[in-house]
């Protein structure tokens, strides 16, 4: 979709990125920060996958009856590995957050800064 010469998909992706970035820097709760990081990451995935799309294109499956043009397979393969990396990052971060709470009893960054 591109009314007024602006690619709405890219605009939406950029807006999602900004929402995630705002959560990451403005929220003081560590879990909200991590949710923001996840929103940012998925918006980047959406950008990469969207860049490989073709108008009326089929998925990159060269089976009988499939017609070119095909969507580009490279962005999709990159994003597949990326999704699994994100869940790894999230799992490690969540484990650390649980440890921080058990140790300090709070998840708010400004309170954590005042602790010795």
């Amino acid at each position: 979709m591109a009314p007024f010469g602006v690619d709405l998909d890219y605009v939406a992706v950029a807006a999602l990125f900004c929402i995630g970035l705002y959560m990451l820097v403005a929220k003081s709760n560590l879990l909200k920060k991590l949710l923001g990081l996840n929103v940012m990451e998925t918006s980047v995935f959406a950008f990469i996958v969207t860049s490989g799309m073709v108008e009326g294109g089929d998925p990159p499956l060269l089976v009988a009856g499939a017609q070119p043009p095909f969507a580009s397979p490279i962005p999709q393969a990159m994003v597949l590995t990326g999704i699994v990396v994100v869940v790894s990052v999230t799992a490690v971060a969540l484990s650390l957050i649980v440890q921080i709470y058990a140790h300090y009893g709070t998840l708010e960054v400004d309170e954590l800064k005042e602790r010795p």
Partner: protein
């Protein structure tokens, strides 16, 4: 028709992402994030990326949500104002 579907889905994505940012209850935020992931998965399926859609539905919206919920259960449910 396809344009209408795209517009609705993009609006839903933005609305759920904003709702995640605004929610004070962390369980609500995590469930909204799961909804955001499933919407993204629908968009990808519609746009010719079925492999990515399957993985996002299982991992992005499924496993990540459960891991977040465990973390919320082990810490505090409310975000401080």
């Amino acid at each position: 028709m396809s344009d209408l579907f795209d517009a609705v889905m993009l609006a839903l994505l933005l609305a759920t992402a904003l709702a995640v940012a605004r929610a004070r209850d962390l369980v609500a935020a995590v469930v909204l994030f799961s909804m955001y992931g499933l919407t993204l998965c629908l968009v990808w399926q519609h746009r010719g990326a079925p492999d990515v859609a399957i993985t996002e539905a299982a991992v992005g919206a499924g496993v990540t949500t459960v891991l977040f919920l465990i973390a919320v259960a082990r810490t505090r449910r409310e975000e401080r104002r």
